[in-house]
């Protein structure tokens, strides 16, 4: 019986690692994706796994406030933001493919390299004396952050840049739950509120750019120099 909590933790750790791996795979899938609607759905799926990771950690580590974070992730990032963006895409009638600046195979290779960097950085936080969930999750979180960053540079379309920013934020959320089992609740609430408002504000901005330039290609935004 004494072994039970430990076994439980191990099981929890495995579940978290599995889902973190899926989150990472989806992030790399985002690097390769050319259709904007699929891009939005991959983001939604990634956020869904993230919410599940939060719920798993909440269950195995008895951190009840993480259930609220999981529920908020689900509502904001799996439901509200994707619906908002899909509507936006329909209204703007974007059907063309989005080409990354660096071609797809090289992009994937770069994403792989960034994952390695993530593991190296995360290793400095690893403490064997502290039992806990998700040491892999931290490495994945840092990789998400870096790949999200790369994805922002690598895409010329406004909406994909916003999605990259949001996936970068997903990396932060994963880092928060794996390092410290989340931030204090009021901070989490503030962050979710900000993410939701930011998604709406950026959505409106993307729409106005589309209206004015008849394109969401941000490489056309280059009048202001010097």
């Amino acid at each position: 019986m004494l072994m039970m909590p430990f076994l439980n933790l191990q099981l929890g750790d495995r579940i978290v690692t599995l889902m973190a791996a899926l989150v990472l795979v989806l992030q790399i899938a985002m690097v390769t994706q050319r259709w904007i609607v699929l891009h939005i759905r991959i983001f939604a799926a990634q956020s869904l796994f993230l919410a599940m990771i939060a719920a798993t950690i909440a269950w195995f580590n008895h951190a009840p406030h993480l259930y609220i974070a999981a529920a908020l992730t689900f509502v904001v990032k799996v439901i509200l933001v994707p619906i908002l963006f899909e509507r936006l895409v329909k209204r703007m009638k974007i059907y063309e493919q989005i080409e990354p600046i660096v071609n797809v195979p090289i992009s994937v290779a770069i994403a792989g390299g960034l994952t390695l960097v993530g593991y190296v950085v995360a290793a400095s936080f690893y403490r064997p004396d502290e039992p806990g969930l998700g040491h892999n999750a931290l490495a994945v979180a840092i990789s998400l952050f870096l790949i999200g960053f790369f994805n922002m540079i690598n895409r010329r379309k406004a909406l994909t840049q916003v999605l990259a920013l949001l996936s970068l934020e997903n990396g932060l959320f994963l880092a928060a739950i794996s390092l410290t089992y989340g931030m204090p609740l009021i901070v989490e609430l503030g962050i979710f509120f900000d993410v939701l408002v930011a998604a709406m504000v950026l959505g409106i901005l993307v729409y106005r750019i589309r209206e004015t330039f008849e394109s969401i290609d941000v490489s056309r935004l280059r009048r202001l120099r010097g």
Partner: protein, 497 residues
């Protein structure tokens, strides 16, 4: 009570602007709201001077001299800009800068947007300055970006959309780095007692246990924070959004962005600097700060020298001054901290005055380019011309104006601390900016006179410019004792002495 009033008044001003119908009523509400905010800020500063710190709600809200100074500066700029914007927006409406919709409905909607977003923007800055919790402080900082994006797109031009996009994306990436830094700082303190509760991220708690924070994590946290809030402060090389946003936003908003928001970003940086220097010793954070500070000063020099647009010139000038203040923070110690706080105060006054003068010029000549201003400004607009030149002399550090004193203090801190290279570069970059700014603005104001008619009087704009100019002149010779006490108190918070 004061803290509640400080946050409630701007929020109520925002709400009122939504429901009021006529333009005159919106103007009255806005002005009254910001006058009230200013009075509350003064009262708060007085309380802080008397009691040391003010806190509320179990330390959720917390104000010391540093916060009180930032709040006072924010409230002052907001009040002056509120009076100025009455004249500014009326002029825009008459001249058709808001679009020539016959019914006037769209123009009123646009003016309402301005009067709704500006108090919200100020609210988020004040909230940030009184938030004790570093995570809440971050969230408030993100709200400042969100509230000001649509102020940048105010004129709806192609260029303003581009500016707003850069501002939103670069600011967004910067703030996500700042959030990561906050998170790592939280982790650095997570083994302290009571870290699970909300107060685990409270600055006032962390600073007491700064020596026990995890050192490796704190190092990483400070780098991320410097990159993150440094982006908001417009430090090079993350400064590229700044000239665009300042050049495209309506002038009163640009004035708030370049003074109050800059102070707020520096405020966040200072809070983490205090934690980092108590945890790691001053050397590590100060080396990084000096690097970014001097880089920002250096980068702004060529852009000031070849600038064609006077609002962008002011923006590069702000980058230079952000660099000066970060350098002062990096020099640290009693002298550096005092120089930093004095410089923050003086820069806020002089730079907002410069933007308001630039707004007058821009609305009279209908251009932001030096080359298109035919005839000298001083003949067409005697008051604006004189004040513009005076404020320019003040901000490039001419004695007897106050910025000379603060820059001299920072320079002394550099040489006293043995940072000879920093001191030399500081003087070199300062000279470059001095030359460029004086050359361009002097030429614009005093240049060969055309036969332009003298502009009509504009009571709201001229009145606010004159009031601010009076403050600038007076403060050059005499800083009121309570204000100086507040500045010294803030410097003591920074240096920890």
């Amino acid at each position: 009570m004061l803290l509640v009033a400080l946050l409630f008044v701007p929020f109520a001003t925002t709400a009122a602007a939504i429901f009021v119908r006529r333009r005159a009523a919106m103007e009255a509400v806005n002005l009254a709201g910001f006058a009230a905010v200013f009075l509350v800020a003064v009262a708060l500063a007085a309380r802080v001077l008397a009691d040391g710190t003010v806190s509320l709600g179990n330390g959720f809200f917390y104000a010391d001299s540093l916060s009180a100074l930032v709040i006072l500066l924010t409230a002052s700029v907001a009040l002056v800009c509120s009076a100025y914007s009455i004249g500014y927006l009326r002029d825009d409406q008459l001249s058709g800068a808001l679009g020539d919709d016959a019914s006037g409905m769209e123009q009123i909607a646009q003016i309402r947007m301005y009067y709704t977003l500006t108090p919200l923007f100020v609210f988020s800055m004040l909230f940030m300055a009184v938030a004790n919790n570093l995570g809440v402080m971050w969230a408030a900082m993100e709200v400042t970006t969100l509230a000001s994006i649509f102020l940048v797109t105010f004129y709806g031009k192609v260029t303003s959309l581009e500016a707003a996009w850069k501002y939103a994306i670069i600011g967004g990436v910067g703030l996500s780095m700042a959030l990561f830094g906050t998170l790592v700082a939280y982790y650095a303190g997570h083994r302290l007692a009571g870290s699970e509760s909300l107060s685990g991220l409270n600055w006032s708690v962390l600073v007491q246990h700064a020596a026990q924070l995890d050192k490796t994590s704190m190092r990483l946290a400070f780098v991320l924070i410097l990159l993150g809030y440094g982006t908001k402060a417009g430090l090079a090389p993350m400064h590229t959004w700044k000239p665009d946003a300042y050049g495209e936003a309506p002038v009163p908003s640009a004035a708030i962005l370049s003074t109050a928001l800059l102070n707020c970003a520096l405020y966040c940086l200072i809070r983490f600097y205090i934690l980092a220097s108590r945890c790691l010793g001053a050397e590590y954070p100060s080396r990084l700060l000096l690097l970014f500070g001097l880089l920002s000063m250096g980068v702004s020099v060529p852009f000031v020298l070849v600038q064609k647009n006077y609002r962008r010139l002011l923006a590069y000038h702000t980058i230079d001054h952000a660099g000066i203040m970060v350098t002062a923070l990096g020099l640290g110690g009693a002298l550096g901290s005092l120089g930093l706080m004095l410089h923050m105060t003086f820069h806020t006054i002089a730079k907002s005055l410069l933007f308001l003068c630039a707004g007058n010029v821009s609305q009279h000549f209908r251009t932001d380019l030096f080359s298109k201003i035919k005839g000298s400004v001083i003949r067409a607009m005697p008051l604006t011309g004189v004040v513009f030149l005076m404020a320019m002399l003040a901000i490039i550090g001419m004695p007897p104006f106050s910025l000379f004193q603060s820059e001299f203090l920072i320079l002394r801190a550099a040489f006293d601390g043995g940072h000879v290279l920093t001191g030399v570069l500081f003087v070199l970059f300062g000279t470059g900016v001095f030359t460029g700014a004086l050359l361009h603005v002097g030429g614009m104001i005093l240049g060969p006179g055309g036969d332009t008619a003298v502009a009509a009087r504009r009571p709201w704009r001229d009145g606010s410019v004159l009031a601010l100019a009076a403050v600038l002149v007076v403060i050059g010779f005499w800083v009121p004792a309570p204000l100086f006490d507040l500045i010294r108190g803030a410097a003591r918070v920074v240096s920890g002495q």
